[in-house]
């Protein structure tokens, strides 16, 4: 198989996520593969791998400990995130906040959202944890046919969904 950008044999097969076609394999010669990965055109997945590699360089011996850190809500470990590039639940942005921040800086150069805000939101990050937990509890209640408890939880979830106006900006951050 030839390199996609020249006549040399393709020795690198890089899978990346493209829009809208989904995961794609790039077939590149060594030279173009190097260029591709180093250039600004870094694909998302490589960006995560690259950023994490740097981060891990800094972490050193603590890596093993970090890998074992798990989200109390969805149970994902940092190791699983590192391997898949995908987080497990909204609460991960809170639970792994300090671990993710260098990655966000590396990918986006910034760590603070300045764009559109929904007119209502779940309030605090802890509400994600609470809502996901409640929903799970409700499913368990339905499973053991405790419909009274299930409907209590449904009401509670509904109350949490009721409009909580999104604050105009982050109160505790200045960056």
């Amino acid at each position: 198989m030839k390199c996609q950008f020249c006549e040399k044999p393709a020795t690198f097969h890089i899978t990346e996520l493209t829009e809208p076609a989904g995961p794609q394999v790039m077939h590149l010669c060594e030279e173009h593969a190097k260029g591709f990965l180093q250039k600004g055109a870094t694909p998302p997945v490589s960006a995560i791998a690259g950023a994490l590699a740097k981060q891990i360089g800094q972490v050193g011996d603590d890596l093993e400990e970090l890998d074992q850190k798990e989200c109390p809500v969805c149970g994902i470990s940092f190791f699983e995130f590192r391997n898949s590039g995908r987080l497990g639940c909204p609460y991960d942005y809170t639970h792994f906040e300090s671990d993710l921040r260098p990655l966000l800086v590396n990918v986006h150069d910034k760590t603070k959202h300045v764009g559109k805000r929904p007119t209502r939101s779940a309030g605090t990050a802890d509400s994600f944890a609470r809502m996901i937990g409640l929903r799970r509890e409700m499913e368990e209640a339905i499973e053991r046919e405790d419909y009274e408890r299930a409907s209590e939880i449904r009401d509670e979830l509904k109350a949490m969904e009721d409009p909580i106006r999104t604050p105009p900006s982050d109160p505790d951050e200045t960056t």
Partner: protein, 363 residues
């Protein structure tokens, strides 16, 4: 919302964003904007149980049903799980769904409107992927439409939104705005003159990604490139729209225009020869793969825009790009075709349409 869609009818219909109209449409095929959104009270897809996924699909469907907007009522809602592989592939070819969601398992769905050119994927990498497609370079209109749909859904769905990190997404590369602006460009002259490397290099450091487009089986089809913003956090939507739509795309369009003009000036005969050969092959071949088809159609499209071919409309070429793909061919034929049959069917399909026969499927 309508609960199903007529896929035979869909295959015959060219799709608004493939009409080959809109600003800069000699070079820009289409503009696509998507927003990634997640529900606040579910884990992300990776950590969802089967029941969670089903529950997300049902919740979103019910909430969408509660919307009263008239345009929303004409949308189709299609459960992807029980759909045949060919029908799923058809939706991929029309870019209404991603290959990723087509090939995954479990509860998943898409709501779409063909004439409006939007779709909402449910249980893709994120719970919701809202996207709008426009023909040509039309970033502002695409944004206004996708933003309206987002506002509508936000009324009935509580999103996972964080005061500091914005819209939370399964992959940290999408967090913040969750916005990806993509412009699909046809750049044959830059490819012929071997300047794509220069384009790639010039896009370094400015937070955009340039990608080649792939056909079936991940074969490189050349000439088609997609530019999109790489960053999503720390910039406003307006800044990201301007980055792609006003800064990067126009610059590449200008490069391509210059390369086309230079080719026409210095290599007109070679170019005319290549375009005519492409036309010759597609008009006479008895068997042809989709990769080879793409390759020659690309040359023909260039020939039309440079005035080297006058008897063909770019609309027809765009239609052929779409309908010569495997699932479209099979839907138009009304049955499943093997590879060899497909290649033969594709050749006769192309022959028929390039012979200038009137086209009953294009209104």
């Amino acid at each position: 919302m309508k609960r199903d869609a007529d896929f035979d009818e869909l295959a015959r219909y060219p799709g608004e964003w493939m009409r080959g109209e809109g600003p800069e449409s000699d070079i820009v095929i289409s503009t696509r904007i998507r927003l990634a959104r997640n529900l606040a009270d579910f884990p992300f897809i990776r950590r969802c149980s089967d029941e969670d996924r089903l529950s997300i699909e049902r919740t979103v469907r019910a909430r969408m049903d509660s919307l009263t907007d008239q345009r929303w009522k004409s949308a189709h809602y299609v459960d992807l799980e029980p759909l045949s592989e060919i029908d799923r592939q058809l939706l991929v070819e029309r870019q209404l769904i991603s290959r990723e969601i087509a090939e995954s398992d479990g509860s998943r769905a898409v709501a779409f409107d063909v004439t409006e050119g939007y779709s909402v994927m449910i249980n893709e990498e994120d719970h919701l992927r809202i996207q709008v497609m426009k023909s040509g370079l039309d970033v502002q209109n695409a944004w206004e439409q996708v933003n309206r749909i987002d506002d509508m859904l936000e009324e009935v769905i509580l999103y996972a939104f964080h005061p500091r990190y914005g819209y939370l997404t399964a992959c940290p590369t999408n967090v913040g705005t969750g916005l990806r602006v993509s412009v699909m460009l046809h750049l044959p002259a830059l490819v012929i003159t071997e300047q794509m490397d220069r384009v790639f290099r010039s896009m370094q450091r400015i937070n955009v990604t340039v990608r080649g487009l792939y056909g079936e089986g991940s074969q490189y089809t050349g000439d088609f490139y997609q530019v999109s913003n790489q960053v999503t956090l720390g910039y406003t939507e307006a800044e990201l729209l301007a980055l792609v739509g006003e800064e990067v795309a126009p610059r590449i369009i200008e490069y391509e225009r210059k390369a086309r003009a230079a080719l026409l000036k210095n290599n007109r005969d070679d170019l005319h020869d290549e375009v005519s050969r492409a036309m010759g092959i597609l008009s006479t071949a008895r068997k042809i793969s989709s990769e080879e088809t793409m390759h020659h159609l690309s040359k023909i499209r260039l020939g039309i825009s440079l005035g080297l071919i006058s008897e063909l409309d770019v609309k027809v070429v765009n239609q052929l790009f779409l309908q010569s793909q495997s699932a479209h061919l099979q839907k138009l034929q009304g049955r499943v075709l093997g590879t060899a049959e497909r290649h033969a069917r594709r050749a006769s399909f192309l022959q028929h349409h390039l012979a200038g026969k009137d086209d009953p499927t294009w209104n």
